[in-house]
């Protein structure tokens, strides 16, 4: 049976929220109510065999099961919402990103500010509910692999994890010509072209530098930061038209320590230093 997780400084969040981003009523609408609803629904429909699985495991297990889409949806909402709130700074004093993190982000996006604009603009221009993620992944580059950051958006209850790539939901389905395919009988090639990656030299294409590494459509990413663009996340304090203001406030309240921990720099550094020791010894 699943129950609501505890956030760090949970009582403070409930009483005061995050100054600027959430008041107590806004926090209730953004966290307490949706989480309790999702838990109630999930506990109601989970079969006995899965009672011990965590939300993330449920997401990956049911990503390819359209008959149990409800389980996927609620588990994914639980995981994504907790991920989002875990990345917020509830300590009261601002948390700045470390030099290392800023450098890594700048390497991937050109500059740190360009990343901010990229990330927030993607979130702002999404029509409909979803999440926008900053993910870290290995990318082939000149025959080697290096870790880069990318921005990824998922609609509704989509998830960024590779194991559940069937339900990544990276595009707004209103922009896809599904009805054409059915009614006007779009040729299967046309339909496929609209839904598959066209760039064969890109990461997942036929002629990519690492053809065997990626399963069909899945890209192994490590999400490190996310922002919720569901309306209930900003409705109470910013109103229906307040998404832009909400995103600005979100930017000022990110807990960069948590983000850096999720990146796993210490793991990479450990391995590369081990390797360097062995190479130079």
């Amino acid at each position: 049976i699943h129950s609501i997780p505890q956030l760090t400084n949970g009582q403070k969040l409930k009483d005061e929220g995050i100054p600027g981003l959430y008041g107590p009523a806004a926090f209730d609408l953004a966290w307490t109510q949706p989480m309790h609803m999702a838990l109630r629904k999930l506990n109601g429909i989970l079969p006995d065999t899965d009672k011990n699985l965590a939300a993330k495991d449920l997401v990956i297990k049911y990503a390819r099961d359209p008959e149990n889409a409800s389980i996927f949806n609620y588990a994914s909402m639980l995981h994504n919402t907790h991920f989002f709130f875990d990345g917020l700074n509830s300590t009261g004093s601002p948390v700045t990103p470390s030099r290392k993190l800023v450098d890594e982000i700048s390497n991937s996006f050109g500059s740190y500010d360009d990343f901010r604009i990229d990330f927030l603009t993607t979130a702002n221009s999404m029509f409909g509910p979803g999440f926008v993620w900053l993910v870290r992944l290995s990318e082939p580059n000149m025959g080697a692999t290096q870790k880069v950051f990318k921005v990824l958006s998922t609609y509704c209850a989509g998830t960024p994890y590779a194991g559940a790539h069937y339900r990544q939901q990276p595009v707004d389905m209103n922009t896809q010509a599904v009805r054409d395919a059915v009614e006007r009988k779009l040729s299967s090639e046309e339909f496929r072209r609209q839904h598959t990656i066209q760039n064969t030299v890109g990461y997942a294409g036929k002629h990519s530098q690492q053809p065997g590494r990626v399963s069909k459509g899945g890209v192994e990413v490590t999400p490190v930061l996310c922002v919720s663009t569901w309306e209930h996340a900003y409705l109470m304090k910013f109103g229906v038209d307040g998404k832009r203001g909400y995103l600005k406030e979100f930017w000022h309240n990110i807990n960069w320590d948590v983000v850096e921990h999720r990146c796993g720099f210490e793991v990479e550094r450990q391995l590369s230093s081990d390797w360097m020791q062995r190479a130079t010894a």
Binding site: P5, L39, L78, D103, S111, T175, R262, E268, S272, W275
Partner: protein, 371 residues
């Protein structure tokens, strides 16, 4: 429509908003023009070991060193990296979403049995250890183990159960520590897996089918053909004692753990005749005098039996490991078997000469035979 969604997906390219407001900036992501190893977008310079060696010496940040190591990685290195990254990701984000209340998994009792320290009244209650039989079927000998009556059955006091179980675990641990042979016996349906697991942990023997009467009292007849071996203090076999072992008496266990005394009265009686201590699960209708160390508990619940077998198996494992640890320090915690002569060992070279009979007849011999 399609073009715009492609642009939105690609983070490196220009992103144009869908707003009609002309004041919106046209965002462009500029790429720094200075060449660096981390930013390989426009760098046409080939990555040679010389370049990388220079770079590694001049640039000290981890970005360049990881690029350096990447080009020279082999597959196993990458696998290690991926595995560590995966483990880190699981640790950082795997638990996010909800708090899952732990639920009973039957396989867990076999995969990872609890130890004596993990025995709590809650565990025993959840394993239905307190449920005795109908009050009219009780054996008055175990009145002191009974807490009370409810719904027409006797309820076994769990504090008493826990105390007796811990005592039995201590006995098993002590016997295993001193190199004793422990027999785990459980012949009821479903007890085979936990019996085997407990014996495996403790390094003892298991029995999950019918006990053949006389296996101890008439051992030379019933178990006479069983192979025995001589092991040293590190539990390694010492070859060459076959001839000497033929003359020895059949082995008897030093401790017997019986999970169903009601079905194995004969086994327990034979043990008593041979001064072998026994441990047994005593239900409210069982006779506590049949065993040396009774554990008052429900012998009809498979979950309860698995918990008890698991605890005793773990105790045996602890004792065995302690004995082996001492053996590694050349300390022997038991008296060696009597009657075995080291000098009378038959080593391989001598034995091969004595038994030099070929298994396949020579070809010449057949040729010489008149058909």
């Amino acid at each position: 429509m399609l073009a715009r969604s492609l642009l939105l997906r690609n983070c490196r390219r220009a992103v144009q908003l869908a707003h009609v407001r002309a004041s919106q900036r046209f965002f462009s992501v500029e790429i720094s023009s200075e060449p660096s190893l981390g930013n390989g977008q426009q760098d046409g310079r080939a990555i040679t070991p010389a370049n990388l060696a220079n770079a590694a010496l001049t640039e000290t940040d981890a970005q360049s060193t990881s690029a350096f190591s990447s080009t020279h990685q082999n597959l196993s290195q990458r696998a290690v990296e991926d595995w560590n990254a995966f483990k880190h990701q699981q640790e950082a984000t795997g638990h996010l979403g909800s708090v899952v209340a732990p639920q009973y998994e039957p396989a867990e009792l076999l995969r990872n049995p609890p130890s004596a320290a993990d025995v709590t009244l809650e565990l025993l209650l959840a394993s239905q250890a307190h449920l005795g039989h109908k009050t009219s079927l009780w054996n008055p000998g175990n009145a002191q183990y009974i807490y009370g009556i409810r719904d027409g059955i006797h309820i076994i006091s769990l504090e008493v159960t826990a105390a007796h179980l811990r005592r039995a675990a201590k006995v098993v641990e002590g016997v295993a520590m001193r190199g004793g042979l422990i027999l785990f016996a459980g012949t009821r349906k479903g007890q085979d897996s936990c019996v085997v697991r407990a014996a495996q942990l403790a390094g003892g023997c298991h029995l999950f089918q019918r006990w053949i009467p006389g296996s101890i009292t008439n051992g030379q007849q019933i178990l006479g053909n069983c192979t025995t071996k001589v092991v040293n203090e590190k539990d390694e076999e010492i070859p060459g004692f076959d001839e000497q072992l033929k003359k020895r008496a059949t082995l008897k266990p030093d401790l017997v753990v019986c999970l169903d005394p009601m079905q194995n009265y004969v086994l327990l009686h034979e043990c008593a005749l041979n001064n072998i201590p026994t441990i047994g699960i005593i239900d409210t209708n069982a006779d506590p005098t049949w065993v040396t160390y009774p554990i008052p508990a429900n012998d009809d619940s498979l979950r309860c039996v698995q918990v008890i077998a698991g605890v005793l198996g773990r105790a045996g494992e602890t004792g065995k490991n302690a004995r082996l640890a001492q053996a590694a320090q050349n300390v022997i915690t038991y008296a060696p078997a009597e009657g075995l002569n080291w000098r009378d060992r038959v080593t391989k070279q001598e034995s091969s000469g004595a038994r030099a009979k070929p298994l396949v007849p020579d070809v010449e011999r057949y040729d010489s035979v008149d058909v």
